[in-house]
Point group: C2
Amino acid sequence: MYVKKTVPYLNCGLDLVGEVLYGKWKIRILWFIYQGNLRPSELQRKIPDVTRRVLNVQLKELEDHELITKKIYPVMPPKVEYTLTDFGRTLIPLIGSIGLWGDEHQERLRRVILKHAAQSSDQSGSDYVADDPRFATLPS
Amino acid sequence: MYVKKTVPYLNCGLDLVGEVLYGKWKIRILWFIYQGNLRPSELQRKIPDVTRRVLNVQLKELEDHELITKKIYPVMPPKVEYTLTDFGRTLIPLIGSIGLWGDEHQERLRRVILKHAAQSSDQSGSDYVADDPRFATLPS
DNA sequence: TCAGATAGGGATAAATTTATCCGTATTGCC
DNA sequence: GGCAATACGGATAAATTTATCCCTATCTGA
């Protein structure tokens, strides 16, 4: 298991949230669990792009951070279910709003994301350069 | 400049948001700009743990994604200011709520984060294993 | 008997992100 | 003159995250 070499930066609430929610699939995993996809195999079908390995790793971290709970049924073939903890559930409204914002701005987001991905060589260089003569020298 | 080798996963609003907000310092940068810290040097003082290099990289991405605007004053020594775009500003309420949630749950977050960081070898293994005999075999 | 479903995880590779180091420029201050 | 402040970005290294590959187990159904 990989162990961090740098110390986390925990100054404000935003930093703390980052620490537990930063992970490529974490927010989506929480959301799908909330939607009733409790078993790892169900989650994987919902998010085909994660590999099972990575899904397990992120689930473990969410569990360590007490956002979800793992329940192992001692049966064969194996059965495991994850559920949101009360703590994890308090995040749902936030995740909901974030998803909503994304949906509302879907087109624009898709445009800007695709524009600056891969080989799209955009040379517009649209930085605004103030040409106001007052700024010819920095006001002290 | 690094160019991605994998295609982005853009199925729902949540995926889209992830694409523009995923970056160790991005949310905090947006927040500090919102708070009036417009110049790169001011931002760096607010977030001492980012290096100027990385700060520039993330600012560039936020700019590419149209969340902030860069204004260059042609003066010497150089002066640059970033501002939230109207689009970027629509994110502020969300970021505000996230930060609030983090503040509210500050203690718990700090605890779970520190517990599972670095060398803290916790062997509690608190997974819940159902011992209900009904699950001795999987119900079909 | 063999494929497929279920779930887990070690070792390792690849991708990505973040950090370090250094060089460019100019002005002002001691 | 030397040093700090302002800002930018290439080359490269280190850290971190994510992915690939492979092996373990058992049961069901074709």
